[in-house]
Amino acid sequence: MQTKRPVIDASGLKKAFNQRTVIDSFDLIVDEGKCIALLGPNGAGKTTTINMILGLVIPDEGRIEVFGQDISHNLRKIKQSIGVAPQTDNLDPDLTVLENLIVYASYYSIPRHTAKNRAKELLKFFALEAKQDEIIQNLSGGQRRRLILARALINRPRLIILDEPTIGLDPQARHLIWEKVEILKAEGTTILLTSHYMEEVQRLADKVIIIEQGKKILEGEPIGLIKRHVGEYVIEIPDGGQGFDGLKEDLDGCNASFEEHAKRLYIYLKGPCPQAERLGMRFEHVVKRPANLEDLFLRYTGRRLIEDHR
């Protein structure tokens, strides 16, 4: 029942830099109020996709509509309602925390007085009020990230783009940012997220798109994807030199698939498997845990990378 037009509607995107294809036949639909995550290894084309939406990389082929308007005609107007938190820290080191927000607001033609009020609200929301007159160099990594997020919200955007919003942060700082993003989500803001923290994606995203080498390899709602492509449970067994001979036969009748890498056996279970419960008696350090996005990601991208290295 999708009657509304999607916030982002891109199709057939292609881009090559110096004959090296970075984005290949890529489609992207982001519906209003949803959080979509682009998941992929470094260099998969996540940031390039974002830059295409912002008109900073011009696709060789394909078309992009944002808010129902073609970006090649209405870019300035479209960007008026987009907020971006980029991966690289590009806060203005010549300005203080508060000035960063006020000057940034001026690029959106927000009147000075309104800008100042909004800036103060945002600093409060991100627990940065005490830092407002501080220069950027004096902020910690987590504080800088929060300020980048605050800056992305200064124009009250309908769409926010978060490119690796918690990269390089300690767990406390990361959780604080997730909390804030969840509040924004609850308020109905549409979010396009890139990340390679699975926990982040699993917590925030309604839909994930796994991309590798510029191509979409999987797309769907995280839990469903995990169940379908990985299973419900994962059993990990480290190889203590005994080998895994005969183990697969023992699990006959279970809906199980196997994968061995880095001297570790992964058993992905799609249903109940009483035999598997007894593996702990034969092997040491057996771990049984629910399947997660990381398993999915590694199954679909990890292996291929290893093959590439050979």
């Binding site: 870019l75 300035r76 300005l95 690029y107």
Partner: protein, 255 residues
Amino acid sequence: MIKTVSLLFTRVWLRNFWVWKKHVRASLIGNLGQPFLFLIAMGYGLGRNVPEINGLSYLQFIAPGLVASSVMYSAAFEATYGSYTRLATQKTFDAILMTPVSVYDLAMGEIIWGATKGLISGLIMLGAIPLFGIVPSPWTPLLIPILFLEGITFSSLGMIMTAKAPNYEFFNYFTSLLITPLFLFSGIFFPIESLGHIPRMIVNYLPLASPVELSRALCYGYLNWVTWERLFILLAYAVLTSVCASLLVRKRLIR
């Protein structure tokens, strides 16, 4: 894509102005030191032993040219070291381009900012000239738009270098191969008319030669048809270099 320049270029200008206000003093002294020292050393020192040129003492002869050269130095310096820092080191341009500000707004804002800094230096030099016993003519206020156009030319030339620069060292080419020769050979220190036919033709079309001649003509109030020719050359330089700089900045930032 956004093909036009909008009024958003003023926001880029204002951002730079805001930052400049914080460090006015250091910035002014940095840019004005050199022309002042030249005026004193050459005008007072060397000038005592140099005969009059076209009825002007040597100090009087070189002073208006040094006004023009201070514009060149400030504008060129800002559009290279200043703009390149914002482009590459601080990533300020990347941050700006995520907003509705287009790459042409950005380039225009930066160029006009460089020209503004040039103009500020030029005006301070001009204001200081009476201290050396030179009384400027009533035409002198007309010099303001001329110095601004000169600023546009040199900040655009600087932006062209910035758009092409892989690192700061790259600007050494610009300074040693363009700015310094222009400073020495654009008729600030000797009259162009005294050169042979061919060198004179070349020097006449150097981008600093026109502002130097215009500055001298307006300071001492001798205007003639050559003034118009000079103005035309200056205008052509300003338009050509700024268009070229904008296109190259786009090429660097939009892939």
